[in-house]
C-alpha cells in the first residue's frame, strides 16, 4: 500500500484475503472494547485494537510478525460487545488462514499444531493425544521440543489424560463431514479471492 514506507509483499491470493479481513474491520472506531474483553489479551504482543488498526492501515509485515491472531481462542466475547457490530473473531480466523496458507515460518508452531490436530481428529474421530504429539514433534523437526513437553506429558499421563494410540482405525464416520468441509472451504476461498481481486483492481 502506498501509505507506508515499509515494503511488504504478499502474493495476490493473500492480498485479496487480507482485503476481505480489512472489509470486516473497516467500520472499527478503535474504541478498544475488544481488547478489554479479550481473555487472552495479556499473552498477546499486540492488542486486538492495535491489530485492527494495522489491518486498516495495511501494515502487512507488522501484522504477521505479531502472534496476536494465533492466540485468539474464538471465544467471541469481543463479538458480543463490539459497538460497531463487527465480528473480530472472524477477522482473526481470516488472518490465521492467510498465515497457514503462506506457511509463514514465524507461525510454524501453531500452523503445524493446528494441522496435526485436525488430521488427528479426522483419522481417529477424537483426539489421540499420544499420536497427536508424536506427529507434531515429527513435523516440527526440533529435538528440544519433546524434552520441553516431557514434564507436562508425564503429569497428564499420571492423571490418565493421555490415551494410547489404538491400532487399526484409520477411517471414521467423520470422513464425510471433513470432505464436505474441504469442499465448502475451497468454494469459499474462491469466492473470497473473487471479492478480493475485484476490489483490488487498480
Amino acid at each position: 500500500m502506498r501509505l507506508t514506507k515499509e515494503q511488504e509483499a504478499l502474493d495476490s491470493r493473500d492480498e485479496s484475503a487480507l482485503t476481505a479481513v480489512q472489509e470486516m474491520v473497516r467500520a472499527c472506531i478503535q474504541c478498544g472494547t475488544c481488547s478489554a474483553s479479550c481473555p487472552n489479551a495479556s499473552a498477546m504482543d499486540l492488542t486486538p485494537r492495535h491489530l485492527w488498526r494495522l489491518v486498516q492501515l495495511g501494515r502487512v509485515e507488522t501484522i504477521f510478525r505479531s502472534r496476536t491472531f494465533t492466540l485468539c481462542s474464538t471465544c467471541h466475547f469481543c463479538t458480543l460487545r463490539c459497538p460497531r457490530g463487527l465480528v473480530p473473531a472472524e477477522a482473526m480466523a481470516g488472518l490465521k488462514r492467510i498465515a497457514g496458507r503462506h506457511h509463514m515460518r514465524r507461525h510454524r508452531e501453531s500452523i503445524t499444531f493446528c494441522r496435526d490436530f485436525v488430521e488427528n481428529i479426522r483419522r481417529n474421530g477424537r483426539v489421540q493425544e499420544m499420536a497427536l504429539m508424536t506427529a507434531y514433534f515429527m513435523h516440527m523437526k526440533r529435538p528440544d521440543l519433546p524434552i520441553r513437553f516431557a514434564a507436562l506429558g508425564w503429569k497428564l499421563q499420571r492423571k490418565g489424560k493421555v490415551s494410547l494410540p489404538r491400532i487399526g482405525r484409520s477411517s471414521t464416520h467423520l470422513e464425510a463431514l471433513f470432505r464436505k468441509v474441504d469442499e465448502l472451504e475451497s468454494r469459499k476461498n474462491n469466492t473470497l479471492q473473487r471479492i478480493g481481486s475485484s476490489s483490488a483492481t487498480d
Partner: protein, 1145 residues
C-alpha cells in the same frame, strides 16, 4: 372548561411543547396543550441544572411582552397563561379533517384525582397508608400511592398510582375540595360475570367481590351459560376460566367479544396454561390471573380495571393546526447487549438517576452519597455512549446531549464535594460541538479538574468484598486498566417516547429508521402532512437550545397555516381595562375562603369581618367556599355586580392559580385585573376540626391571618389604578442579510402580512447557498436556493435591497430607524418595529499546513467548489487527506465550528462514491457528528475512509517538496507508527467565523460574545433574542449551524419578531417603572441598572424616558435612584410602608 375550538393543539408539554404553545399564545392564538404526564415540563422537570449555564432559567421562556397574560412564576410550578389550556394525563385518540379544520379527539385518563379541583394541600398524602418507589426520583426514594407527580408543582399535581393504590379510601374524605373520587358507590353498578366450571371458585370470587362493594356480580358454570347471560343483560367485566369442559375460555372470549366488543375480560388460568392466557390477550383480554391466586391480587386487578374504566374521559375539540412535540425517553441499559451491571449492581446508575441525586428534592436531598449505603462519593466514573452509537442495538446515532450532560454532572459533583470527588469520563469522541460547548469542556477539564479518558469501558463488575464497581478498559497505550470506583454513571442515550409509533400512524407522519419523526428536508418543523408540525426531540435527540429554536419554528409554521386557512384572524381578546383614575376613592370588596368549613365563620370570620369593615374603603365582605377554584370565583360575580367595587381582595390558598381567575373575572365584570389581589391564608393547612392543637399556636396563627388580611387591604388601597401608557409599533421588519436564515425570516414575516425590508451586501441573495453543492443527507442545494430566493424576490410584502449596507441606526422595540447606503453612496432611511440580524459568517482563512503555498492545499469551501464544478478530475486523484480543527478549538478560536466534521464526511463519501478506489485519510481530534449525522460517519468508515486522530500538541506536518503531490507526516496513536501519506489534495477544515460588525450590533443595542457571534439573552431559553427586546439573530451570525438549522433559526427569529409586529401598540404590564421628571437629575444610574435596556435619556427634551413594554417591573431602577425619582406603578414606597404599618397592627 375546554373551549370547542382552538387555533392549535400541542401534543407533549415538554420544553418544546411549552415554547410552541407560548409562541402561538403570544401571537394571539388559543392553544390546547396536552401531555400524558400530570404536569408540564417533560423530562426537564426532573433536571435541576442544565448545560451550558448549569442553572435552570426555564422561566425566561415566559412572555416579556403582554406579561400580564401569564403568571410570572417558576415554570416548574406550573404554566398559567390565559390563552393556553393545559390538559394533563391526555393522549390523542383520533384525528380527522385537514389543515385549518382538524377534529381532534382526546382521551384523558385521570386516576381518581381531578386536577381542576386539587389544590395540592397534601392532606391525602398524609393519610395514605401505601408506600411505593417514587417514580420522580427514579425509584431512589419512597413516596405514597397518592403523591405529587412533580414535587414543586403548585396545584393539580396529585396523582394516584393505579398499581400501588389499594383503594382503601382513606384519602377521599380528607380532601378539602372533594377532588378525589374513588367512585365506591359506582362499584354497585359495575356488572361483573364470573365464568368457571368449579362451584367453589365461582362462590368465593363472588363473595370477595361483594365484600369489595361490587354488588352486581353474576356467575356462570359454562361457556354456554355465560353466552345466555350475556344475551340477556349487559356486563362490563368478565372473569373467565381458561380451561372448562365444552367451550373453553378462549373460545368464549372470542364469541363474547364478537357480540360485545366493548366487554373487558380477565383470564384465569393454571400455571400450565399461561401461554393460552397470553394468547387470549391477543384476542382482547386485558390481563390474566394465575391460579391459585391471592384474593388481594385479584381484587387489586379488578379495582384497577374499574378505576381506569370510569376515569377515561373522551373529549373532542376543533383545531387549525397541530404541533407534535412528543419528546424522548432515556434508553434503558438493561435492554442493551451489555447492561454494565445496571440493575444488578446497585452502584451503577443512569445519568438521569444521578441528576436526581444532585437535586435538592432528590433521594438524598442533594448530598453526594451513594443511594444504597450512604457512602460519600469520592470516585465517580461516567461511561459515554450507553445506548448510543451502538450498531448492535440499531442505534447508529449519537444522542447529542450525553457528552455535555456528563461534563456538567462531573463538574457539579466536583463542586458539591468541595473538589474531593475524583470524576472521570470515559468517552469515544467528546462531542462538544457548537460555539458554547467547547469552552465548557475546556473549563471542566482545565479549571475544574474533570478527568477525561478516551476509552470505552468493556465491563463493570462489583468487587467481591466491598461491592464497589470495577471498570475495565483498554488504554490507548494498549495496556488493560482496572479502576475501582464508588459509583458508575451510565450516560444513557435517548429513544423516541413510547407511543411515537402509534401517534405517527394516527397522524400519517413518517418515522425514520430509529423511530423518530421524520421532518422534511431543510425544514425540521415540517412533517409530510400539511398542518402537522414537529418540534423538539421527537425528531432527533437534541439539547434545549435546538429544541427551543425548533419549537419556535414550528409555532411559526403553524401560524402560517392558520393564516393561510383563514383561522388565525380570531377575535382579539378584549384588552383589560384601566382601573379608573387615581381620584376615584377605593371601593374594596373582600372575599374570604372558608375552605370547606375549616375556617370558623362564626368566630374567626366575624373577627376578620370586623377588622375589614372598620376600614371605610371596604364596602362588603363575602365568605365563600373554595375560593381557590373556578366555582368560588364564579360565585363572586353576583356580589361584584351588586356592590360595584373597583378593587377586589381575595383571601384564599394557592395565589398562583388565581392569575387566570383574575383575568376571567376582569373579562366578565370589567374590574381591572391588577386591582385584584390575593392573600394566602393557608387555610388548607388548618386541621379539619378542633382536635385540641396547641392553643397558643392557634391564636398566633389567627393573628397572622388577620395581619395578612390587613396587609392585603393596605396594598389595594394604595394601588395605582392609572392606565399605563402604550407605545406605537412600526409594523414592519428589517432583516439584515439575505442568506438562508435571513430569507427564511423575511418570508416568515412577509407571509404573516407584514412588510419586510431585506438588506443584502452582495449583488445576489443566497449567501453560502450559492456555492454549497449538496448536504450530508444528500439533498441538492441549488433547487432549494432557487425556490426560496424566487419566493423572496416576488413576495409582495418583501422589499429586497441588494448591495446595500446599514450605515446608521437607532431606536428600540417597536420603533427603529435605519439608514441604508448603496455602493454609490445613496442613502435611504427606513422605520421598522423589529430588527433581525442575519449577517452570516464566513469560512475562516488560515496560513497553517502550508495553505496558500501549494495549489493542492485548499479549504473545504474550495474543495466544495471543485467537487461541484469539475467532476472529471476526481478519477485522477489517488489519495486525499483532510485535516479537522484547523485554527479551531484552540485558545485563539476556542469554539467548535459544528459544520466542518459533517462537511468532511460528506465530501469523503462523495469522493468515494465517484471513485471507490480513492484513498481518503481524515485527521481529526474528536469527530463532531451529533445526532443522526453519526450514521454517515459509520458509512464513511465502512467505505474505507481512514480516520486518524491527532494530538493538537503535535499537529501533522506538511511537506510540499514532492512536486504536484503533498506529503503528510503524522503519528497514529493506536498502531503506534509514524505515517507518511502522499496525497493529491489536502483539504483543511478551517471552521466558521461570524461576520457581525460590533458597530452594527451596537446600533440596535445587541451585543457580541467573546468570539464575535451574536450574544443571546440566554443560550438555552431565549436562543435567538438579544437582551434588548426587538432585536433577534439567526444563521451563522448567531452560531455555527447547518442550512437546516439556519432555516429553523430564521423562522424562530421571525416568530419572536411577530410577537411585536402583531401589536399596533405595545402596552406595559404590572408593575411598570415610572419616573417623576421633576425629581430626576438625569444621573443615568437607573439607565445602567436596567437589565432590559428599557430606560434612556431623550436628548432633545432632556428627560428620562421608559419603554413601557420593555420594562419588566423588576424595580432595579427604583433601588438605585438616589432621590426617589424612579418609582414603580405597584409596590411603590407608599404602598410598602402602608403594608408594613398594617402588618404591625
Amino acid at each position: 372548561m375546554l373551549r370547542d375550538k382552538y387555533h392549535a393543539v400541542v401534543i407533549g408539554a415538554g420544553i418544546a411543547g411549552i415554547r410552541s404553545a407560548l409562541d402561538l399564545a403570544e401571537t394571539g392564538s388559543d392553544v390546547l396543550l396536552i401531555d400524558r404526564a400530570a404536569h408540564p415540563g417533560g423530562l426537564l422537570s426532573r433536571l435541576d441544572n442544565q448545560f451550558p449555564t448549569d442553572g435552570c432559567g426555564m422561566c425566561k421562556m415566559l412572555p416579556l411582552l403582554d406579561r400580564d397574560t401569564s403568571e410570572a412564576t417558576c415554570l416548574r410550578k406550573g404554566l398559567f397563561h390565559e390563552r393556553i389550556d393545559f390538559l394533563p394525563a391526555t393522549e390523542l385518540s383520533d384525528l380527522q379533517g385537514e389543515a385549518g379544520r382538524f377534529e381532534v379527539r382526546l382521551k384523558q385518563t385521570l386516576q381518581g384525582v381531578d386536577p381542576q379541583l386539587c389544590i395540592g394541600c397534601g392532606a391525602c398524602e398524609s393519610v395514605c397508608p401505601v408506600e411505593m418507589d417514587d417514580p420522580f426520583n427514579s425509584g431512589l426514594s419512597r413516596c405514597k400511592a397518592i403523591h405529587r407527580a412533580v414535587p414543586h408543582a403548585v396545584a393539580g399535581g396529585y396523582v394516584i398510582d393505579p398499581v400501588a393504590c389499594t383503594r382503601c379510601g382513606a384519602c377521599a374524605p380528607v380532601c378539602p375540595t372533594d377532588a378525589i373520587d374513588l367512585a365506591f358507590d359506582r362499584r354497585k353498578e359495575f356488572k361483573i360475570l364470573v365464568v368457571d366450571d368449579e362451584l367453589s371458585v365461582r362462590d368465593s370470587l363472588k363473595e370477595w367481590l361483594l365484600n369489595e362493594g361490587y354488588s352486581s356480580v353474576q356467575t356462570a358454570a359454562s361457556g354456554a351459560d355465560a353466552l345466555t347471560l350475556l344475551s340477556q343483560s349487559s356486563f362490563e367485566l368478565l372473569l373467565i376460566d381458561v380451561k372448562m369442559p365444552g367451550m373453553d375460555g378462549v373460545d368464549l372470549l372470542k364469541l363474547a367479544k364478537g357480540d360485545h366488543p366493548e366487554l373487558m375480560a380477565v383470564m384465569m388460568t393454571a400455571y400450565a396454561t399461561v401461554d393460552t392466557a397470553v394468547e387470549a390477550m391477543k384476542s382482547g383480554a386485558l390481563d390474566y390471573l394465575i391460579k391459585p391466586f391471592d384474593p388481594q391480587a385479584m381484587l387489586a386487578m379488578v379495582n384497577r380495571i374499574f378505576q381506569e374504566n370510569i376515569s377515561v374521559k373522551e373529549q373532542q375539540v376543533a383545531a387549525g393546526a397541530l404541533i407534535v412535540s412528543g419528546g424522548m425517553v432515556p434508553f434503558d441499559p438493561r435492554t442493551g447487549v451489555n447492561s454494565y451491571g445496571y440493575g444488578s449492581c446497585p452502584h451503577v446508575l443512569t445519568s438521569l438517576e444521578f441528576e436526581r441525586m444532585l437535586s435538592g428534592c432528590g433521594p438524598s436531598q442533594g448530598r453526594l452519597v451513594r443511594p444504597k449505603d450512604d457512602k460519600p462519593l469520592r470516585r465517580i466514573a461516567w461511561m459515554q455512549c450507553v445506548g448510543s452509537r451502538d450498531c448492535q442495538i440499531s442505534a447508529d446515532f449519537c444522542s447529542r446531549i450525553c457528552c455535555m450532560a456528563a461534563l456538567k454532572e462531573a463538574e457539579l459533583a466536583r463542586a458539591k464535594s468541595g473538589n474531593a470527588a475524583e470524576t472521570t469520563i470515559f468517552y469515544t469522541d467528546m462531542r462538544t460541538f457548537g460555539k458554547s460547548f467547547e469552552p465548557y469542556r475546556r473549563r471542566a477539564e482545565e479549571e475544574n479538574g474533570v478527568k477525561l479518558v478516551r476509552a470505552r469501558v468493556h465491563s463493570v463488575v462489583p468487587e467481591s468484598e466491598s461491592g464497589d464497581p470495577v471498570v475495565r478498559y483498554a488504554g490507548l497505550d494498549g495496556r488493560m486498566h482496572e479502576e475501582v470506583v464508588d459509583l458508575v454513571v451510565l450516560s444513557t442515550g435517548l429513544r423516541p417516547a413510547p407511543g411515537t409509533e402509534a401517534l405517527a400512524d394516527m397522524l400519517g407522519v413518517d418515522r425514520n429508521a430509529w423511530g423518530f419523526f421524520q421532518p422534511s428536508p431543510f425544514a425540521t418543523a415540517r412533517s409530510k402532512v400539511e398542518g402537522i408540525f414537529l418540534a423538539g426531540a421527537c425528531t432527533e435527540p437534541m439539547e434545549i437550545n435546538a429544541a427551543v429554536i425548533q419549537a419556535s419554528a414550528a409555532a411559526l409554521e403553524a401560524g402560517r397555516t392558520l393564516r393561510h386557512s383563514g383561522s388565525r384572524l380570531a377575535e382579539a381578546r378584549q384588552r383589560p381595562s384601566a382601573g379608573g383614575s387615581a381620584d376615584d376613592p377605593p371601593r374594596i370588596l373582600a372575599a374570604v375562603c372558608t375552605c370547606n368549613g375549616r375556617l370558623d365563620k362564626t368566630q374567626e370570620g366575624a373577627a376578620m369581618s370586623a377588622d375589614l369593615t372598620r376600614d371605610p374603603a371596604v364596602i362588603n365582605v363575602q365568605f365563600v367556599d373554595q375560593l381557590c377554584g373556578p366555582s368560588g370565583w364564579a360565585s363572586l360575580e353576583q356580589p361584584i355586580e351588586r356592590h360595584a367595587p373597583n378593587r377586589l381582595l381575595v383571601a384564599a390558598c394557592h395565589p398562583l392559580r388565581h392569575h387566570l381567575h383574575r383575568r376571567t373575572m376582569a373579562e366578565r365584570t370589567g374590574l381591572a385585573a391588577h386591582l385584584m389581589t390575593t392573600v394566602d391564608l393557608k387555610t388548607d393547612l388548618l386541621p379539619p376540626a378542633d382536635n385540641g392543637a396547641d392553643l397558643t399556636r392557634r391564636e398566633a396563627d389567627k393573628a397572622e391571618r388577620r395581619a395578612k388580611l390587613r396587609m392585603g387591604l393596605a396594598y389595594l388601597k394604595h394601588a395605582d389604578p392609572a392606565f399605563i401608557e402604550q407605545t406605537p409599533v412600526q409594523q414592519r421588519a428589517l432583516v439584515i442579510g439575505g442568506g438562508t436564515a435571513g430569507m427564511q425570516a423575511a418570508l416568515a414575516i412577509g407571509d404573516m402580512g407584514y412588510g419586510v425590508d431585506l438588506v443584502e451586501r452582495e449583488a445576489q441573495l443566497g449567501g453560502h447557498l450559492n456555492w454549497l453543492h449538496h448536504t450530508l443527507e444528500g439533498h441538492t442545494v441549488a433547487p432549494y436556493l432557487t425556490e426560496i430566493s424566487d419566493r423572496v424576490s416576488t413576495h409582495p410584502q418583501i422589499t429586497v435591497h441588494l448591495q446595500h449596507e446599514v450605515v446608521a441606526a437607532g431606536g428600540w422595540a417597536g420603533d427603529f430607524h435605519s439608514t441604508l447606503q448603496d455602493a454609490g453612496g445613496r442613502a435611504l432611511t427606513l422605520r421598522h418595529g423589529v430588527t433581525i440580524l442575519a449577517t452570516g459568517g464566513e469560512e475562516a482563512d488560515t496560513t497553517q499546513y502550508g495553505h496558500g503555498t501549494h495549489p493542492a492545499i485548499l479549504t473545504q469551501k474550495a474543495m466544495e467548489r471543485t467537487l461541484a464544478s469539475q467532476e472529471e478530475e476526481l478519477s485522477a486523484w489517488g489519495a486525499v487527506a483532510m485535516i479537522q480543527c484547523v485554527g479551531s478549538r484552540e485558545p485563539s478560536r476556542n469554539y467548535c465550528s459544528r459544520i466542518c466534521c459533517p462537511t468532511t464526511v460528506k465530501q469523503a463519501l462523495y469522493l468515494k462514491e465517484k471513485n471507490p478506489e480513492i484513498q481518503i485519510f481524515i485527521l481529526y481530534r474528536d469527530m463532531m457528528m451529533p445526532g443522526f449525522s453519526e450514521s454517515y460517519y459509520t458509512q464513511a468508515r465502512r467505505a474505507g475512509v481512514i480516520f486518524i486522530p491527532y494530538d493538537p500538541q503535535q499537529p501533522p506536518l506538511v511537506d510540499t517538496s514532492d512536486g504536484a503531490r503533498v506529503t503528510l507526516r503524522t503519528r497514529d496513536p493506536i498502531a503506534d507508527v509514524d505515517l507518511e501519506i502522499g496525497v493529491d489534495r489536502l483539504v483543511l477544515a478551517t471552521g466558521v467565523t461570524p461576520r457581525l460588525p460590533g458597530r452594527l450590533a451596537d446600533f440596535y443595542g445587541a451585543a457580541l460574545d467573546a468570539h464575535g457571534f451574536f450574544q443571546e439573552a440566554d443560550s438555552k431559553w431565549r436562543p435567538v433574542d438579544a437582551h434588548q427586546e426587538g432585536v433577534f439573530a439567526c444563521g451563522l451570525a448567531l452560531a455555527p449551524q447547518t442550512i437546516t438549522e439556519a432555516a429553523a433559526a430564521g423562522q424562530a427569529a421571525a416568530q419572536r419578531a411577530l410577537r411585536i409586529l402583531d401589536h399596533e401598540q405595545l402596552g406595559a404590564g404590572h408593575p411598570t417603572a415610572k419616573v417623576r421628571t421633576s425629581l430626576c437629575v438625569l444621573c443615568e444610574r437607573c439607565v445602567e441598572a436596567c437589565p432590559y435596556g428599557a430606560r434612556a435619556i431623550d436628548p432633545e427634551q432632556r428627560r428620562l424616558v421608559i419603554h413601557p413594554a420593555m420594562c419588566q417591573g423588576c424595580g432595579a431602577c427604583a433601588a438605585v435612584c438616589p432621590n426617589g425619582a424612579a418609582t414603580m406603578s405597584d409596590h411603590n414606597a407608599g404602598q410598602m410602608l402602608a403594608m408594613i404599618d398594617a402588618a404591625m397592627g
